[in-house]
Symmetry: C2
Subunit: 200 residues, 2 copies
């Protein structure tokens, strides 16, 4: 392996170890030692790259956002309605498997650090801005090509992102799955009756 | 004072002390001693009623929900659209003062305990069910009296509650106030263009 791919491979292995340790232990009980024990390469590499768990976790969150934004651009579709629905499919799937649920729980634990920690706050602000801009672009394209009615792309995108995050929050901290299906049905109704320019 | 009003007054004083201590210190740094120091009556009364901070906090959350639901029924209006908007005014005010912001931060810290703690989980599930049922009642009344179009009251209510909680979450853990105004504008647009049966 070249030096660059070697470094990338190490980075990917660290991020994988962090993902598994976070799903397994949650944020509160996570330690560098627990992440290291999920890491198959030399432990010292981990400590060489990151000083403490919060520094590593912020890097991990940024890595996840990069992957999410790469996925989002690969799957970009020429049809805004299809793209909007596939964004919802990805973020509000009908079911969460156990690992994914534990990952979402950990994400909300990390989020509750944000009010007190600038690095986390900056990260979560970046996620929201990314999601809003991405959805606003899709909606704007739809308005411009006539598949959507003349709604405000920024406002509509802000509403979608809040609805998605609220439903994700309810899913892991409230009455579980009860309302996810209803929220998704209401968003689909919104797309059909308010956004779509097509008469059905 | 009679025994009952004496007991109520003590209870109210404990809840007030808890509110102020929670705003001041947040959840992670909160202790029974810190709550006691906000309490003007005999400290021993506090320990007599509650064994530890989590027992007290769950009682506090239930007390806040009771007050919120009393408020909501007093302000019940005969016009569903006015009622829906005043519900939004209350939960997504254009500005959060500093105390209120710290209270919202503490609420999300408490919520991040929910995945691991049944008493918190039950409480937050109860809040969501209360909000959804309340909004579904308002929407159903509107559909029945013809001020609203024939939407599904439960699904629409579930979407509103998720949007509100998502916006509250962004407000205190993300890019702050930037999107609250956009979310509110999009919900108002939804009420006008999709819910309201009136042509404008």
């Amino acid at each position: 392996m070249s030096e660059v791919t070697e470094r990338d491979a190490t980075q990917t292995a660290i991020m994988d170890a962090t993902y598994h340790a976070l799903c397994e232990h949650g944020y509160a009980n996570l330690t560098m030692a627990k992440i290291a024990s999920e890491f198959e390469k030399s432990k010292s590499l981990l400590y060489y790259h990151y000083e403490n768990k919060d520094e590593l976790l912020v890097a991990f969150l940024d890595y996840m956002l990069d992957r999410f934004s790469e996925d989002a651009s690969i799957e970009s579709s020429s049809d805004p309605e299809t793209e909007l629905r596939s964004f919802l499919d990805k973020l509000l799937p009908p079911e969460l498997d156990d690992e994914r649920r534990r990952f979402h729980v950990a994400l909300f634990e990390l989020r509750s650090e944000a009010p007190h920690d600038e690095a986390y706050r900056d990260h979560f602000a970046k996620v929201e801005v990314f999601m809003r801009e991405r959805l606003a672009d899709v909606i704007r394209t739809g308005v411009e090509n006539g598949t959507f009615r003349d709604v405000d792309p920024e406002q509509t995108a802000a509403m979608f992102v809040s609805t998605i995050h609220g439903a994700m929050l309810h899913r892991v901290t409230g009455d579980g799955e009860a309302s996810t299906e209803d929220v998704r049905a209401a968003l689909d109704d919104y797309i059909e009756t308010r956004l779509s320019a097509e008469e059905r």
